[in-house]
């Protein structure tokens, strides 16, 4: 595996997940894989190796990204079951693999739709919901609730400017009423808000979840104020690996402001305990956060 290819793809995953939820990022990656297989023009005997390489890169991304990580594991299983379709010619092999990827994408889409159906049950008239990042709740649940005519408002906590802008764009497009505040101003709104909606990049078997950086502060603050915390995630985000294996990315960048320079060190994601979450909602509805292993599909 080329270390350079790994670094390039890692950086792209980190960037794309700023604009989309991890589920949507996974769909985009599957689409990218399909197009790339169509365009691949390598020697016949290298095809399996190329597939293995790209699967390894995706599974080892920094940070690990779910559901794509699990979907790639499912893809590999299928490939191994079929011996990488080695009995077929090059083009037929491509077609067969693309067909599997199509089915995986379809499965994820169905899970996302069902997650929206389940999630929307937790939105009620008069809700004032806190959001801070582009997650499944922003992309799926709230638009569906708005279309169903539910009366609710959103409080957007501004952290990363790119993420905040995207949340605003999505809510605006659906005509959802929102207010933007800096994250540190949340303390003044606890008498108005009644729910916190978050998403995750992964739910690990040791009872933790990996989420966008900045989630930890908000969850902790809401937990202290007894605000109900809802975590929405398709079950394909549940991994049988531990939180310490999630390859968090540590960024060390030189910042220059008005002639003053300093090194800024930051992590790509937060790791939090599921104990802080009050409701874990998957496509199967509200699930027991203490029995994650049972819901793991891979």
């Amino acid at each position: 595996m080329s270390n350079k290819d790994q670094l390039v793809l890692d950086a792209l995953f980190r960037d794309i997940v700023k604009f989309y939820s991890s589920s949507q990022t996974s769909l985009i990656t599957l689409q990218a894989l399909q197009t790339s297989i169509t365009e691949l023009d390598c020697p016949d005997e290298d095809f399996a190796k190329e597939l293995t390489t790209v699967c390894d890169i995706i599974k080892n991304s920094r940070p690990r990204m779910f559901p794509i990580d699990n979907l790639i594991i499912l893809l590999e299983k299928k490939l191994q079951e079929n011996n990488y379709f080695s009995d077929k010619d090059f083009d037929s092999r491509k077609t067969a693999i693309i067909e599997i990827i199509n089915l995986l994408a379809e499965r994820l889409r169905n899970d996302m739709n069902e997650l929206a159906n389940q999630g929307v049950k937790h939105i009620e008239d008069g809700d004032y919901i806190i959001l801070h990042s582009v997650e499944e709740a922003v992309e799926l649940l709230l638009p569906m609730a708005q279309r169903m005519g539910k009366k609710f408002e959103v409080l957007i906590l501004r952290q990363d400017l790119v993420k905040t802008k995207q949340v605003i764009t999505l809510l605006k497009a659906e005509g959802i009423k929102y207010t933007v505040i800096p994250e540190w101003d949340l303390i003044h709104f606890f008498d108005k808000v009644n729910k916190l909606f978050i998403g995750a990049h992964a739910l690990t078997v040791d009872g933790k979840f990996v989420s966008d950086s900045g989630t930890s502060n908000i969850v902790s603050e809401c937990h202290i104020h007894n605000l109900p915390i809802y975590l929405f995630a398709p079950s394909l985000e549940i991994t049988n690996k531990f939180s310490r294996d999630q390859n968090l990315y540590l960024k060390d960048e030189l910042i220059s402001v008005n002639g003053s320079e300093y090194n800024l060190v930051s992590h790509s994601s937060d790791i939090l305990s599921l104990d802080l979450v009050d409701h874990l909602i998957t496509e199967e509805g509200a699930v027991d956060k203490n029995k994650l292993e049972e819901y793991c599909k891979v």
Partner: protein
């Protein structure tokens, strides 16, 4: 006009001019401020009066530049250039050679029909995102696009400031420029592109043999589409803007029939677009590069003063006409002096200074088919590639690249630019010698 230097009185405009030139070259003060301060000094010292100063200004050039700036600002506001850039990025499918070739073609065409600064402002950010995202070295691609923008701009009257000045002050038409210069520009473009490919050939390997690289390209295009397409597209303004630009270019082409000068056309169409688009005029005018226009204004006056005092005549007689009256030598001398001079000085003041000198050379040694003017245009435009300070687009590009974390040093630029200029000037020399041979 005097034909000898009025020795004692000419000393002041010469000193002022040299100081202003040094201040511009070494970027000691803002260009517009430097030239206008120089003009102010000449007026205060009674070297010229305010009426003379105004008479030295070439309003045709200023009208053409202002008009094009307004047209480009409104088209840019419509989102058209972003759509084009993202589409090109998609077409390249991440292939390094396709990135180089397709972006170079777009850059050359945009530079030919718009201004180079606008072109690099649009192209450089997207090419940095694209190449960096693929793990390629963005510096090579940034440098190639700046160089190509200077080459593409050479092809038309409106492509590069030296051509705007030459066209307006000498009365050469849009068609004359494009018909005469585009063949040589196309040849130079192809050779330079081949040279850039050759020196970076290790980086230009095809990527469709690697699945991980292909996946990276797809994800990168998704990212670019998101980042660059997340702007408001104003279709109505886009149609209005492109229609006005097309009409302006058609009127440039039919100049000999309509009798409308390019400056009148550009400013006229800009006003039409401002009115029909109902754009916020104040907001659009804020985008016009007033400092560039004032810089031009000041330079016209400073060179006008030198001309008035016979300094230009003296330079022409003692520098250029000392080499004799062989047209081949004169043409090549103008080409190479302009090329090298424009590389180390800004090519705009250099061109403004050279115009009266060439008028004087032509008075004593008539050279057919405006070949001496073409030598100046080719030299001044291509020469802008030698150094980072040779053309405005170079300085702007290096600045944008730095903002995106891509450092390009003076030497980095010169290593690439000097060779490209050498190639361009050699091709131009062959073209001019052949043109002269068939003209005499």
């Amino acid at each position: 006009m005097e034909h000898t230097v009025q020795h004692s009185s000419a000393l002041i405009p010469i000193i002022v001019f040299v100081i202003v030139y040094a201040a511009i070259t070494f970027e000691l003060v803002n260009k517009a401020a430097a030239t206008l301060a120089g003009v102010g000094l000449l007026v205060v010292l009674h070297v010229i009066n305010e009426h003379q100063a105004v008479s030295f200004i070439d309003f045709e050039t200023l009208m053409l530049l202002t008009g094009m700036m307004i047209l480009v600002t409104l088209i840019k506001k419509s989102g058209f250039f972003t759509i084009v850039s993202v589409r090109i990025a998609e077409i390249t499918k991440g292939s390094p050679v396709k990135i180089l070739v397709l972006f170079s073609i777009v850059t050359a065409l945009m530079s030919a029909f718009l201004d180079n600064v606008t072109t690099v402002l649009i192209i450089i950010p997207i090419i940095i995102e694209l190449t960096r995202g693929l793990g390629l070295n963005p510096k090579n691609y940034v440098l190639s696009q700046v160089i190509i923008s200077n080459i593409g701009g050479t092809a038309t009257l409106i492509g590069d400031p030296p051509n705007v000045i030459i066209g307006s002050k000498v009365g050469l038409s849009f068609n004359q420029f494009i018909l005469t210069l585009s063949p040589v520009v196309i040849v130079v473009f192809i050779i330079v592109l081949a040279y850039i490919w050759f020196i970076n050939r290790v980086e230009f390997k095809p990527i469709n043999t690697s699945l991980s690289k292909l996946v990276a390209v797809q994800l990168l295009l998704e990212k670019i589409k998101f980042e660059f397409s997340n702007i408001t597209i104003d279709k109505k303004l886009m149609i209005q803007g492109l229609t006005c630009l097309t009409i302006a270019i058609l009127l440039f082409i039919t100049q000999t029939i309509t009798g409308l000068a390019p400056g009148v056309v550009a400013l006229g169409m800009a006003m039409v677009l401002l009115i029909i688009s109902k754009a916020d005029v104040e907001e659009i005018l804020e985008e016009v590069e007033w400092s560039t226009l004032l810089f031009f204004t000041g330079l016209f006056i400073l060179v006008g003063a030198l001309e008035e005092y016979g300094v230009i005549n003296w330079i022409a007689q003692n520098v250029f006409m000392n080499v004799g009256d062989d047209p081949y030598i004169l043409v090549l001398l103008v080409l190479w002096v302009s090329g090298i001079g424009s590389g180390f000085l800004d090519n705009i003041p250099f061109t403004i200074t050279m115009i009266p000198i060439i008028h004087l050379i032509l008075e004593s040694t008539p050279i057919p088919n405006d070949i001496l003017w073409w030598a100046l245009a080719l030299g001044a435009c291509f020469g802008g590639n030698i150094t980072m300070i040779g053309a405005s687009a170079n300085i702007i590009s290096v600045g944008i690249a730095k903002k995106y974390g891509v450092e390009i040093s003076f030497i980095d630029f010169m290593k690439r630019g000097a060779v490209v200029t050498l190639i361009s000037l050699i091709v131009s020399s062959i073209f001019l010698v052949l043109y002269l041979r068939f003209s005499l």
